[in-house]
Amino acid sequence: MKPNTTVWIDAELSLGLIDRVRRVNALRHAVPDCGAMVTFDGMVRPSSKEGESIEALILDHHPEMTAPSIERIAHDGAARFDVQGISVAHRSGRLLPGDMIVFVAVASAHRRAAFECADYLMDRLKTDAVFWKREQGGFGERWIEPTSADKKDRERWYEETAGH
């Protein structure tokens, strides 16, 4: 299925703002002959699942395990789909509503592979990237853990869990 060609990969743990324009331009520059590019931006929403106002989202990471977990997910996507380039950046730190948490871009010859790979990368990042997040607001602070929907999404792909 998947041809044995080199895939351009840029996977990053971002401690500051993610620059989506720079990342898109770098990907397009790296694979100028691609016919399709799919991107995903994930942003901090202004309210919680319960509808309360959110002041900040705090993402914690592990000093040694987090960056390799992002790289591994990107490489797994490259191995699984017929794509030409993958760009992944995931924030850590204190984020405000509207700030970008995660950015994924995938370039390929044909659109189906780019759509599926971006979808896959997001499902993996939600459950297998080494982050912990909590939201702060008038209610105080609470940890957010993967929902059953996130786990169902993840199971569509039948992969090993990161770290095992």
Partner: protein
């Protein structure tokens, strides 16, 4: 021995603690019980908090050695 705690479990034990005089050679399961006994908090007995030794996830029968870095990780939530 230094223990790290990440995510929800850090609210019980702190981010990073030094547990003196834990003898190398304990398994992860034994280390959990020792930590619960000393702290009085049993949260760490829940296997939902996975253990990593020197940045690699390990099973309950893994034995820690002198100088190992042991971390307990709450369920991950990226994206």
């Amino acid at each position: 021995m230094r223990l790290g705690f990440y995510g929800r479990i850090s609210t019980t034990y702190g981010n990073d603690i030094d547990v003196p005089a834990v003898s190398a050679g304990l398994s992860i399961a034994e280390l959990r019980r020792e930590l619960a006994r000393r702290s009085g908090y049993e949260d760490i007995l829940d296997p939902i908090y996975r253990a990593a030794v020197n940045n690699v996830i390990v099973t309950e029968d893994h034995h820690v050695r002198e100088g190992d870095r042991v971390d307990f990780l709450s369920p991950l939530s990226g994206g």
